[in-house]
């Protein structure tokens, strides 16, 4: 039985390493191709479509005015931009701060709606209510802490205009504004940079697969209408809507020059709650879409489902099993110093255990290498401090993922057994 676990672990880690190698190769191809094409800010946007920018905000008095001001100052024809801020069940001064901003001379004539909402449904509910007031051909969503860069919307739409019939949505890149706050935010920043500059680019370059990140993206209004809006039962509405878009034969394109910011959790407890919600939400989406693997769905959606299922289930189980084997053998070896007769339950014939260690070492090495490729691509971030954090983060920050995934999965099972309704948890903000 223990031999089966060992071989399962080795093969599973190989597949994870293969996936990492393929994605990294795609990312390198993307980076070198992008470096050959100069960045062009669209000069004439008169033929560009109208856009309704939606910003859901629940108790965001700290950050909302800055974000909305950034949006109002975007480099995009003002008459083509409608801004709808949803003050969703706010008990603080979010709405008051917005009204003060709207009364400024510079913004008085702008198409700027403040929607004070007391309904249910969390972020999805807020977006669905705003959608009823939206007049734009495209909907753009920013989180309340996004503070998009001046050309972010222009770059998103520029990408959409490359293939307007095929691209149902376009997403940009998000940067951590508080990345240097502490060790946790430094690790989150490395993860964010790696996911965006390696995973997103690799998947897009090789397979034209993209996933909406929840903020800093645009989506066709007509497509959202056809889908029926955002799923108010989903706790990760961005992943859920991504699969809906793919199912309809539309692509989610990447516009890496479109940048916005996000504030990352600075406390471990806040981080764990946020990530548990994301994991649980993604488990739901995987379970809801796993049927595509066995039906006549497009290869792209099958690959996307497989990618998520492998990351959240398969590789997780393989890492847990291999960690158990490692730790058990280490513990038994220590005990054997005092009680020589004791024998570990994981005794293997031949050198297979050595190859498990080699597979693990390759996985660790490519983990660090991916991070450092991403850092090299993000000007100014490839330094000694970040290299050290990348080396250390596997043994610290990344191990949290195991705890989060197990807890999220347990919570999901308990919800199903006791028919509990999932509660949408809002990430706490910091000054």
């Amino acid at each position: 039985m223990s031999d089966f676990f060992l071989i399962f672990s080795v093969i599973s880690i190989w597949i994870a390493v293969l996936e990492a190698i393929v994605i990294m190769a795609g990312a390198i191809k993307f980076i070198f191709r992008q470096n050959r094409s100069p960045l062009t800010i669209p000069a004439n946007m008169e033929h560009y479509p109208t856009v309704s920018v939606l910003v859901p905000a629940h108790n965001e008095e700290i950050v909302i005015a800055s974000t909305v001001e950034h949006i109002l100052q975007l480099n995009y024809p003002a008459r083509k931009v409608q801004v709808i801020i949803i003050a969703d069940n706010c008990t603080d001064r979010t709405a008051e701060n917005l009204k003060a901003l709207k009364n400024k001379d510079a913004y008085r004539d702008r198409d700027f709606i403040i929607l004070e909402r007391t309904g249910k449904g969390g972020k999805s509910g807020a977006l669905n209510d705003a959608r009823k007031l939206a007049t734009g051909e495209w909907l753009c969503v920013y989180d309340a802490d996004a503070a998009p860069e001046r050309n972010a919307l222009a770059f998103l739409v520029q990408k959409a205009m490359e293939e307007p019939e095929l691209f149902g949505a376009v997403f940009g890149r998000n940067k951590a504004r508080n990345r240097s706050q502490n060790f946790l935010t430094q690790c989150i920043n490395l993860e964010l940079v790696t996911v965006q500059r390696v995973h997103h680019t690799g998947l897009w370059e090789l397979f034209k697969i993209g996933t909406i990140p929840g903020t800093n993206f645009i989506v066709k209004s007509a497509l959202i209408q056809e889908i029926g809006g955002w799923d108010e039962e989903a706790i990760t509405e961005d992943t859920a809507i991504s699969f809906e878009i793919l199912t309809r034969g539309q692509l989610i394109a990447l516009a890496p020059q479109a940048e916005a910011y996000q504030q990352e959790p600075e406390r471990l407890s806040v981080y764990m709650r946020q990530r548990e919600r994301w994991s649980k939400g993604n488990y739901h989406v995987i379970i809801d879409n796993i049927h595509h693997l066995f039906r006549r769905s497009s290869w792209r959606i099958k690959l996307h489902v497989l990618y998520y299922a492998a990351s959240y289930f398969w590789f997780m189980v393989a890492i847990i099993i291999s960690d158990i084997i490692f730790i058990t053998n280490i513990v038994y070896q220590i005990i054997a110093l005092f009680v020589p007769s004791i024998v570990s339950p994981f005794i293997f014939g031949g050198d297979i255990f050595v190859y498990l260690m080699i597979a693990w070492a390759l996985m660790y090495y490519i983990y660090v290498l991916q991070i450092n490729l991403a850092l090299a691509a993000d000007i100014g971030q490839s330094n000694v401090r970040n290299f050290i954090v990348s080396v250390v983060s596997y043994f610290t920050y990344s191990q949290l993922f195991l705890v989060i995934s197990v807890r999220a999965f347990y919570s999901l099972i308990m919800d199903k057994i006791f028919r509990r309704k999932t509660k949408w948890y809002k990430t706490e903000r910091f000054d």
Partner: protein
């Protein structure tokens, strides 16, 4: 005892191929990093 020689051979082949791939990716990463530093960094410390 089960004979795992076939699996050991598979391990050697797969590990060798992966190691080669990783070496190539490392070279690309270092070359790219060197180009970026040459083009953009001016030796100033970055936070």
């Amino acid at each position: 005892m089960i004979d795992y020689r076939w699996f050991i051979i598979l391990c050697i082949i797969v590990s060798s191929l992966f190691t080669l791939a990783v070496i190539i990716l490392t070279i690309f990463t270092l070359v790219f990093r060197a180009r970026v530093i040459q083009k953009y960094d001016r030796g100033k410390p970055h936070v």
